[in-house]
Amino acid sequence: SNLSLQIRFILLQNRQGKTRLAKYYVPLEESEKHKVEYEVHRLVVNRDSKFTNFVEFRTHKVIYRRYAGLFFSLCVDITDNELAYLECIHLFVEILDHFFSNVCELDLVFNFHKVYLILDEFILAGELQETSKRAIIERMSELEKLE
């Protein structure tokens, strides 16, 4: 059995189900991706806040949290540490918040490519790449200078 524990995909969706970010670390056909996004949205959008932040999804599980109108969802192995991924989501949100100065959904829409770039400094190959918010923000500024 594959003991490899990694993130399989990351989704940012709003309440209407519009995808604001979709990063896949496993290969999926476009149609499969759409199905996944639809299913995950359905799973998380109706969950009462008194329920846990973990839902079983096919043979894996999705860790999610809602921030304002956006759902941040991570799909991980069923045996992996849910609480750790909640922290992971929170750190990502903090980074975005810092980068965009009080981030709102519109920032993420008009600067979607930047969101991907930030994500790529935070997570790579489905694993954590950096745990310091400061380091990531600094790196982004260095890279911006090259543009």
Partner: protein, 872 residues
């Protein structure tokens, strides 16, 4: 064309898309943009590539196809400038994945960029490679990446480490190459490099035993030290989360230690101190701390036993159970289920808290808690636990009641210390949730009741009282009716009073009231009503003084709209009226139902796999089990009460024994047509000359009376009007020849009665079948059919076999065919004898299946013959 018409800016495009009010409008805008982009792509102008790709990525995120942009990614990646490469790689990762061949074209660019002098470019390449490389690319570029693990810049080292993680996932063979580089990363101080190094080592350990050995021997102590340093470290604002320095690194280190300690006592030994430290010192008031604790508990559970650590771990989980955060409670319950395997005692200590979680507002927590509780039940605590669960049953949500009642029943059955307690608990459950209780549960209850002769009086009295209050609980009513029918005399005479009971006054009329009520209540289902009639029959013997009243009730049901009830009413009335002499022996007290046999049947599989010691808690009831309990006195009843079993052996046995009644009593779900067809295929399968009756796989289940009333839902799905009675002929002879010894000599003319015209029963491009009919003397129900099979093809048929199935009201006998070889344009004949029990009311109908070999290939033809002449 130049770039005057370079199209909209990215922002403007996004704005105009957002301004669309309908999906159609959006499609229109997107279509136009795509057209512009395509045109721009065709011009091959490098200026707009960057913006075009950015737009395409946005359009892609909306869900539109963007394949035409893939090559643009490649061109951008091949460009010299950083911004172009950056967006090119980003587009690559978004629009392509490892399965696409286009990706291979990037390999060369990647190789160059991995060797680029600009480290930011190197970073881009590592990122893309790490996120989407295929196995081939991984293999090609592994040496580059390995080298970069030791690059001077920590950002590159991090990326190289994670990129390597992907490489070894894709190509496990390459794992060895990375061992040394990975272990050097473990000495790093930079958190980012360290955590990626730890992850790489973890990956290597899980896919390569040599790596595991290496890291275990060489790096365990170092890792422990690293974890200790970080646990003890002073406040580091950059990495602090809720008072913990870099909880992510904590967690990754714990994970790696887990893999190193698992299965190795020495390594485990080295870790115990640090694990104890983390377990006791970590603050658990915030999620970050709890995440670390959780990982720590996982590691403690996985490494080699140190029982004091385990107790520590379980206590942490116990504390988690009382945490207000339901996420924490949830993970604790999950872990405790695993922990039970190691240390049941330690988990038992938290039983009370776990029980509280059964009442949690969150459904998934309730479910898990219930699972956990049922694993904790033993002889010592069963009474207390059951009481708590039943108390909760009364107030729980409807949607949880089913799971809860099922669990309580299974706990009670497994651990009941004495029969009277079992009966009491079951009565409570049935009173609360009878509607939701499955058939096998109340069947089991009846078996137990029947075996507890000293409790018959007590039980029937308790049931009587219960059913007065909870008459809407169907299952309770059924059990009560059965008991009143059986033990009514004990009920009205206060026979077998136990010390704990008070006498109750129940007249014979009161008892009959209850039974009558079950029949007349509008929401009683068929099973209940039918059982009530049987009970009345018994009572008519046991209560002679009100036999008239009982008779009246039965007679009234003769006019019931339910066929089953009509039939029973008529038959029972006949017994009551005209067969009083045998009535009392008919309805004598039921013989004790053998618990061991019941358990065997209930498990539903071949006896070898069933233990008859403890009652197995089985999820799917075997249709067989229903039969002996309810239908022993069913005179010709075809009531089908149990849910169908799903094993193939049961289907066969169903077919063999079945005498199906009206379909009104069908319960449970039918399997889809596929199952039914397959089953029929099995029975009609070519090359198995012996008919289905000879199948011995379900021999044990065929014993005794149990078979007769099983549903065979598989048959419902066949298109013939009623389930077929299967007959096949063995052209090699077999059973029928031995028994019949008939030689096929059909008479072509009718000897008695009218002649019937021959028919073409079937015709395809290769085969034609004709039937001619004659009636043997004396019996209008019998028809002789001579079947002629004609080979219409230019080649010879060999191994020809004809099989047929008919509905239940027909009986079919096939004589062997004249031959099983048909030369081209030749024919063979075969005699069939059909007996129509519904002669005059229903016509003959038949499904047939023909198999033969033509030019070495197996051919199968099937069809239904509907054109039999009427009156046969």
């Amino acid at each position: 064309m130049n770039s005057i018409f370079s199209g909209t800016r990215l922002r403007d495009m996004i704005r105009s898309i957002r301004a669309c009010k309908t999906a159609a409008e959006e499609r229109g805008v997107v279509r136009k943009e795509c057209a512009d982009i395509r045109a721009s792509i065709n011009e091959n102008d490098p200026h707009d590539r960057h913006r075009n790709l950015a737009k395409l990525m946005f359009i892609h995120m909306l869900g539109y196809p963007t394949h035409f942009g893939q090559m643009e990614c490649l061109k951008l990646i091949a460009s010299p400038g950083f911004p172009e490469k950056r967006i090119g790689y980003l587009g690559l990762m978004l629009l392509l994945d490892e399965r696409q061949e286009v990706l291979m074209l990037v390999t060369n660019s990647l190789k160059q960029d991995l060797n680029h002098t600009n480290q930011y470019v190197v970073g881009l390449a590592l990122c893309a490679l790490g996120n989407i490389c295929s196995a081939e690319m991984a293999r090609d570029l592994a040496p580059e990446v390995e080298r970069l693990i030791q690059f001077r810049d920590p950002n590159i080292r991090k990326k190289a480490a994670l990129c390597s993680t992907r490489i070894v996932r894709k190509v496990p063979d390459l794992a060895e190459n990375f061992i040394n580089a990975a272990s050097s990363l473990l000495k790093e101080k930079h958190h980012g490099v360290l955590i990626t190094g730890v992850q790489l080592c973890y990956e290597l350990c899980t896919i390569n035993d040599e790596a595991l050995e290496y890291f275990r021997k060489k790096c365990t102590e170092g890792l422990i030290k690293t974890l200790r340093d970080i646990t003890n470290s002073a406040y580091q604002p950059e990495y602090d989360v809720a008072g913990i320095t870099d909880p992510f690194l904590h967690i990754r280190l714990l994970k790696l230690l887990r893999v190193l300690g698992h299965g190795d006592a020495d390594a485990s030994d080295l870790m115990t101190d640090i694990l104890a430290q983390v377990a006791t010192k970590t603050e658990s008031n915030k999620n970050a701390g709890n995440a670390v604790l959780y990982e720590c508990v996982e590691t403690i559970m996985a490494i080699e036993d140190t029982s004091s650590l385990r107790v520590l771990a379980i206590n942490i989980l116990g504390r988690f159970l009382s945490n207000r955060d339901n996420n924490i409670r949830y993970v604790a319950l999950n872990m405790l289920m695993k922990a039970i395997a190691f240390d049941d005692q330690a988990v038992q200590r938290h039983r009370v808290t776990i029980l509280e979680c059964v009442k949690d507002p969150d459904a998934s927590i309730r479910k898990r808690a219930l699972e956990l509780v049922s694993l904790l039940v033993n002889e010592n605590n069963v009474k207390q636990l059951t009481k708590e669960l039943i108390d909760y049953l009364e107030i729980s949500d409807e949607d949880f009641k089913e799971d809860l009642s099922a669990k309580i029943c299974s706990i009670v059955e497994k651990f009941s210390p004495e029969k009277i307690w079992y009966i009491d608990q079951m009565l409570k459950v049935l009173s609360e949730a009878g509607k939701l209780v499955k058939d096998d549960v109340w069947h089991a209850l009846i078996v137990v009741i029947s075996n507890a002769s000293e409790l018959h009086g007590y039980t029937v009295r308790a049931l009587y009282k219960a059913v007065l209050t909870y008459s809407e609980q169907e299952t309770l009513v059924r059990v009560a009716i059965w008991c009143i029918g059986e033990y009514g005399d004990l009920l009205v005479n206060n026979v077998g009073m136990l010390g704990i009971e008070d006498p109750i006054t129940v007249t014979e009329s009161d008892a009959v009231d209850v039974v009558e009520d079950a029949i007349t209540r509008h929401n009683s289902d068929m099973t209940t009503k039918a059982m009530a009639l049987v009970a009345l029959l018994k009572l008519s013997s046991r209560f002679p003084s009100i036999s008239e009243r009982i008779k009246d009730i039965i007679v009234k049901q003769k006019g019931s709209l339910l066929l089953e009830m009509q039939q029973r009413a008529i038959e029972f009335n006949s017994i009551v009226d005209r067969h009083k002499n045998i009535r009392s022996s008919l309805v004598e007290r039921m013989p004790v139902l053998d618990e061991a046999t019941f358990n065997v049947r209930r498990a539903g599989s071949l006896p070898a796999s069933v233990s008859t010691m403890a009652k197995p808690s089985v999820s799917i009831p075997n249709g067989v089990a229903a039969a002996p309990l309810v239908d022993l006195l069913d005179l010709g009843s075809d009531d089908i009460m149990a849910a169908p079993s799903s094993s193939g052996a049961d289907f066969l046995q169903d077919l063999l024994g079945v005498d199906l009644g009206s379909s009104s009593a069908q319960s449970g779900a039918s399997p889809g047509p596929k199952a039914g067809a397959d089953l029929l295929m099995d029975i009609l399968s070519i090359g198995t000359p012996s008919p289905a009756q000879n199948n011995t796989s379900s021999v044990d289940l065929l014993s005794t009376a149990g078979i007769n009333n099983n549903p065979s839902n598989a048959l419902d799905t066949l298109s013939s009007p009623a389930p077929p009675h299967i007959a096949t002929s063995a052209s090699a002879g077999g059973m029928f020849d031995l028994l019949d010894g008939l030689s096929p000599s059909p008479s072509k003319e009718a000897t008695n009665g009218p002649a019937y015209p021959p028919i073409v029963a079937y015709e395809s491009s290769t085969l034609k079948i004709e039937f001619t009919f004659s009636k043997p003397s004396g019996n209008p129900q019998e028809t002789n059919v001579q079947a002629t099979f004609i080979n219409l093809s230019p080649d010879t048929f060999t191994d020809f076999i004809f099989q047929a199935a008919v509905p239940k009201f027909l009986q079919l006998h096939l004589d062997p065919a004249s031959s099983n070889t048909l030369p081209a344009s030749g024919n063979i004949t075969q005699n069939l004898r059909v007996t129509n029990s519904q002669h005059g009311k229903k016509s003959l109908v038949m499904r047939m299946r023909i198999g033969y070999k033509l030019n070495g290939k197996d051919v199968l033809e099937e069809g239904q013959i509907n054109n039999f002449p009427r009156g046969l």
